[in-house]
Symmetry: C2
Subunit: 142 residues, 2 copies
């Protein structure tokens, strides 16, 4: 059973990234996945195999174990899907040198996923990292 | 003479935002333009008339008078165009409380423009503001 490109992007964001169900990775991600552009992301510019992609999901989710994405909009043309999204997660473990704050952090971003047939072969992404940095740097109000 | 939505987005980024030719605004922008989402942008959430849009262009370009956008990718579906872009500009006047550094600053971002017919009625945008903040905060190496 194959999915449309939009369905695959939705599964990737909601099953893999939100729920941490990495068992779906081989259905969705090509043998080689390239992070074409993702400023501030530790994996920017790298090409990952499926095991590497799973590792990236695990390491990215570790500081925010309850993280979840909500899809705002999706546009498809040719072999690409552009998706805009919001994200939230509770900051439970250190990230970027900052100790766990146990605060709910919000972010938004936009990603263009590239396909070869039904497999996702890479992404070009911008996330609002300045917004996250400001939230993580805030003095707790309590 | 009307343009396709992709041609209109290219004119907006290259003529209006890169060259500062605001005479094209009435051809491209609706009477009411809404900044649906643009975290960190001073106009986020506002609805602007064409004069307000021109004012936004002028104020945004002032710190970086030679700014230019390059389009990476465009996807069109329905009445929307998603565009990914890179940007550069020389920091000639104060911005965000930081004095002019006269350095060339780089940024990238992604924008979804919404249309009603041939007019652009709003955008949803993410820019790599953390990358800009880091460049502006760097100690000059010279």
């Amino acid at each position: 059973m194959t999915c449309t490109p939009k369905e695959s992007v939705a599964r990737l964001l909601l099953d893999v990234w939100s729920l941490g169900d990495t068992s779906a990775v081989p259905d969705l991600i090509a043998e080689r996945f390239t992070i074409f552009h993702d400023p501030g992301d530790p994996w920017e510019g790298q090409a990952l195999d499926q095991a590497g992609y799973v590792q990236r999901v695990r390491e990215s989710r570790a500081p925010f174990p309850d993280q979840s994405f909500a899809i705002c909009d999706m546009l498809e043309e040719g072999e690409k899907v552009a998706v805009t999204w919001t994200w939230k997660g509770t900051h439970r473990r250190p990230v970027a040198g900052l100790p766990a704050s146990n605060r709910l952090i919000h972010m938004s971003g936009a990603t263009v996923y590239s396909f070869a047939g039904v497999a996702i072969i890479g992404h070009w992404q911008i996330s609002d990292r300045l917004g996250v940095f400001r939230q993580l740097s805030e003095t707790p109000s309590g």
